[in-house]
């Protein structure tokens, strides 16, 4: 059998793939390489003086207990955000999948939060839950809860997780709905004829068939929680109170852009990059085994 039957010329396939490669190289590998180089330098904000310091930036980071606290916090935030937004979105999708009157309207309403930019999400929730301006805060206080995320770290963390999860629900919902609709009705009907009740049908038939979608969304959600929640944190808490909402990516921003400490910031991005590579590796190596395609 001839393997290169499609392309007559040897150059053509390369030429066709070149634009894509160029984009990947310029927009992904080049900045990543820059970050690695920068992480070995000590440089002022204007780039006027720079000296090569080997691993100093990394060593400084690992000597800093606040950095480890931020790592633990980031993992906690990510799982909390992923689990809550995934489970809630699944619940909504299952309900919206039922033949209902006006289901298109529900679906549309459930999808729109995805179009809202993260900082806007932050502002939106702040307006509802700001200790003195917030509408919901008044009710919370009426219930006897001393609601003050400006000083209570746990409340601030809960606020950030809530807002971040809320924003991601629409995206998850969209995929879950598509996944649910692609499950053959005949399988579910067969289970129903066999006498399986709705809950049992869901856990033994629908859920396993949905597992590729769940797995895909789990990866996406964790990456989202790692990288995209920065805008929400910045508008809602700016990392405070104390350091109770400083995540790794927020620290990259505040050290690099606000503090002008580019070396440390770059070192942090490199570590973050490695962490996500490892995390994705683990997911595909172990979690994927439980997934039935």
């Amino acid at each position: 059998m001839q393997k290169q039957a499609i392309f007559q010329s040897k150059l053509l396939p390369y030429a066709l793939v070149a634009p894509q490669l160029a984009i990947v190289l310029i927009f992904f590998y080049w900045p990543a390489l820059q970050a690695v180089i920068q992480s070995f330098l000590l440089q002022d904000a204007f780039g006027l003086s720079s000296s090569f310091v080997w691993f100093d930036n990394y060593i400084e980071l690992f000597k800093d207990p606040a950095y480890f606290a931020a790592i633990v916090r980031t993992f906690f935030f990510s799982f909390a955000i992923a689990i809550s937004s995934l489970s809630f979105a699944l619940l909504l999708a299952v309900m919206a999948d039922k033949p209902l009157r006006g289901s298109m309207l529900y679906r549309t309403l459930l999808i729109w939060p995805y179009a809202v930019a993260p900082p806007v999400v932050g502002v939106l929730w702040i307006f509802m839950l700001h200790p003195s301006l917030g509408v919901l805060s008044r009710y919370l206080r009426g219930l006897g809860i001393d609601w003050n995320p400006l000083l209570d770290g746990n409340q601030a963390a809960a606020l950030v997780i809530l807002a971040a999860a809320w924003k991601q629900i629409s995206y998850n919902f969209l995929f879950f709905l598509a996944g649910l609709q692609s499950i053959p009705k005949s399988v579910i009907e067969a289970a129903a004829i066999d006498g399986a009740r709705p809950m049992r049908r869901f856990w033994t038939v629908i859920f396993p068939l949905l597992s590729p979608t769940i797995f895909f969304l789990l990866v996406i959600n964790i990456v989202y929680a790692f990288f995209d929640t920065f805008g929400i944190i910045d508008t809602m808490t700016r990392g405070g109170p104390g350091t109770s909402t400083v995540t790794l990516v927020y620290k990259v921003y505040s050290d690099g852009l606000l503090g002008g400490n580019l070396g440390s910031s770059a070192a942090q991005s490199v570590i973050l990059m490695i962490m996500v590579i490892v995390l994705t590796g683990i997911q595909f190596r172990f979690v994927e085994r439980k997934v039935t395609y």
Binding site: L42, A45, L48, L150, R238, G240, S254, G260
Partner: protein, 438 residues
Amino acid sequence: MALRHFGAAAAIAVTVGMTASPALAVTEIQWWHAMTGANNDVIVKLANDFNAAQSDYKVIPTYKGNYADTMNAGIAAFRAGNAPHIMQVFEVGTATMMAATGAVKPVYKLMAETGEKFDPKAYLPAITGYYSTSKGEMLSFPFNSSSTVMWVNLDELKKANVEIPKTWPEVFEAGKKLKAAGHDTCGFSGSWVTWVNLEQLSAWHNTPLSSKANGLDGFDTVLEFNGPLQVKHLENLVELQKTKVYDYAGRTNTGEGRFTSGECPIYLTSSAFFGNVKAQAKFAFTAVPMPYYPDVKGAPQNSIIGGASLWVMGGKSADEYKGVAKFLTFLSDTDRQVYIHKASGYLPITKAAYEKAKAEGFYKDQPYLETPLLELTNKEPTENSRGLRLGNMVQLRDVWSEEIEQALAGKKTAKQALDAAVERGNTMLRQFEKTAVK
């Protein structure tokens, strides 16, 4: 035929281009700023007036986002070899700009080299001190300056039968009375927690925030704000936070709505809050000087400024610098300063402008607009009250806020929190010192 037409058209275009070139010889001066709303209008008017007054230079103002955004945009542009001529930088960015020798053109040098008439003594020393070297050489041109004042809701104070407090103990008492009179979520509060309760507090009591004249005399400065005064003040706030006589309102100015809505009748923040108060407050208000501790010797001293100055960027042509210098002279004009002062609520930067506004009776109806000036000029500035020049100031403030928040939340004592703030801040200062151009 078509080709010949094209040739003719091209020839005409070239000729037109050449004849038009004298008009293009107008030197453009890029001015990046962070002013919005009414203050943006002031900037545009200033640029337009300057452009109309002469025909050699054209100042082009561009809004670049908030202060931090504008500064980052300027730094990024400089790294790309594309910096603007004039950049508005907030006061906390001063050390970063100053450390960037070569990236900036000191104003005193610019004025000397271009032969513009320039008398540093014409400007208010309380303002220029912040932007000058220890030898009194002006590095950047002060543009919009403000200071911390205490905003007071006169109606609510009257209702609760409270006099306007002058000292901190009086403020605490007033807060308690106001709470008893129904302000149970907030007797008094303030914005910019570190600016008000560490930086201004220290200067106002002639107490050092850090060594080397708060960093003005060198980047090898060490933080010292964990002294008895600052610890006592924070302890007081922590104690009052428990009953909400004082209620923390966040790190930036997002809590200012608590004053205009009437929730907090006493509120310490920038004098530049004036525009919002005037537009939103439905009650009689005024702004009085910051309170002080009467048992501290020499208090009150003088306050330090907030706001921003104009930095001239390096590496531009002689002709461009000539234009920039002319523009700065234009801004220093007394009438123009009075206009800026009245239109924006920021302080006049020259002595003449202040005198003129006073002579016009400007402060008779609006005495609160003079308050920040009276604070700044209260006494001759000392080593502890000339200003601040700490590297990475934006980030430093975040670290200090973190620690203060932990004290207010009861997780640390006031002393522990301020010790930690000093220690963490010092680490950052050493980091900055390493990268600063020698």
